[in-house]
Symmetry: C2
Subunit: 194 residues, 2 copies
DNA sequence: GTTTTTGTTGATTGACGAGTCAATAAACTT
DNA sequence: AAGTTTATTGACTCGTCAATCAACAAAAAC
């Protein structure tokens, strides 16, 4: 029965299942068995491939971060000019894939994880750094010196919009989120233009 | 040895200890024993007064919310005119008491709790509603129709600034947080003034 | 064709933790 | 003084869960 080359497949399934389960349960109190079951294998196999629950969580974070990074890079590739680039970053941040309840719920819990697990903290900082530099690249041509604080504010605003999404009942409202962020951006940029 | 009328004292000690422990550990994975120990009693007594761990968490949330509400009300009482009121709300949100690592860490974890426990969700919504209406009261005279979206954005920004505080190493930077929020406010209001 | 590597799981271990209980004691009531 | 209420805890129950292990199966290597 055992086919070879299962490792990457199993790992991918586990990562996906981890995110789903965390999103579903709404906390990190997910058992390895739950995750493994959803991924269609025994909990022993999950341990076999990842060694520990924590490693599974970290792999899931890396995965989300990778997806997000790819999405941003893709959107950025099509954009021309600073304004369009900023818009691209926002669009990616609130894309259907990233802004769905499941992912947002997982995101929140990774934030909690970052309080305890240094590697998780590091990963979140990577995300923050990337977001910051993406925003700065677009902002500097438009706002010069004032780019820095604007980027900081916008970054916090994005995270805050994610946070609020968690509490909302009903379907995610990407429109609103993007509009709020763009709005912020515009009122900031108006001040710097003729 | 047993003095009477201990209930409120014990409960208060437990609530305080709950917040401290959640902030210290950085997650909701605190044992009742830890909390009780910090509050100077046996875990059995903690159960005696609160019945369950969840009730303790909720009491802790209510406590934080009460403190925050009192702080806002106090600041608001001294303020005159819409602008001053807005400033007061921001100052209270980032006051030394509310913006210390411990409280912020607990806050984040309550957000997680809200995903599972309806009463926690309700409490958080109360907070959001209060913040919203406080902001609106100050904003409407200054921005009219545009008050609504500005308040939504500002609310999310405040939550986002809290969130980012969690990841930061080093001491909390209230100055920066207030400045960022005020900055947001100003660029929003400029558009609405002559 | 035997050995090694890779995949897989059921069963088990060992720890830990929420909640309960019985027992003890001091204070208040009558 | 007898009875009741309030305070308090150590010991115990019961469940859960991460992690390990022994064993089995199939492919690959030799």
């Amino acid at each position: 029965m055992p086919k070879l080359g299962m490792e990457p497949i199993r790992k991918a399934a586990l990562v996906k299942a981890t995110i789903v389960e965390i999103g579903r349960v709404g906390s990190l109190d997910v058992t390895v068995s739950q995750i493994a079951k959803r991924a269609g294998m025994s909990s022993a196999l999950a341990h076999h491939y990842f060694g520990s629950k924590e490693e599974m969580f970290l792999a899931a974070m890396r995965h989300i971060l990778t997806l997000y990074g790819a999405e941003v890079r893709g959107a950025l590739a099509l954009a021309e000019g600073p304004e369009s680039r900023l818009r691209a970053v926002l669009a990616a941040s609130f894309s259907a894939a990233n802004f769905r309840r499941e992912a947002v719920g997982a995101w929140l819990n990774f934030w909690v994880l970052a309080q305890t697990v240094p590697e998780a903290k590091r990963l979140l900082k990577v995300y923050q750094g990337r977001l910051r530099s993406n925003l700065l690249a677009g902002l500097r041509p438009l706002a010069g010196d004032r780019a820095e604080p604007i980027a900081a504010g916008l970054g916090a605003l994005i995270d805050g919009l994610y946070l609020r999404e968690v509490l909302k009942s009903g379907p995610p409202d990407r429109e609103m989120a993007v509009a709020t962020a763009l709005n912020y951006l515009n009122s900031k940029l108006e001040g710097a233009r003729p």
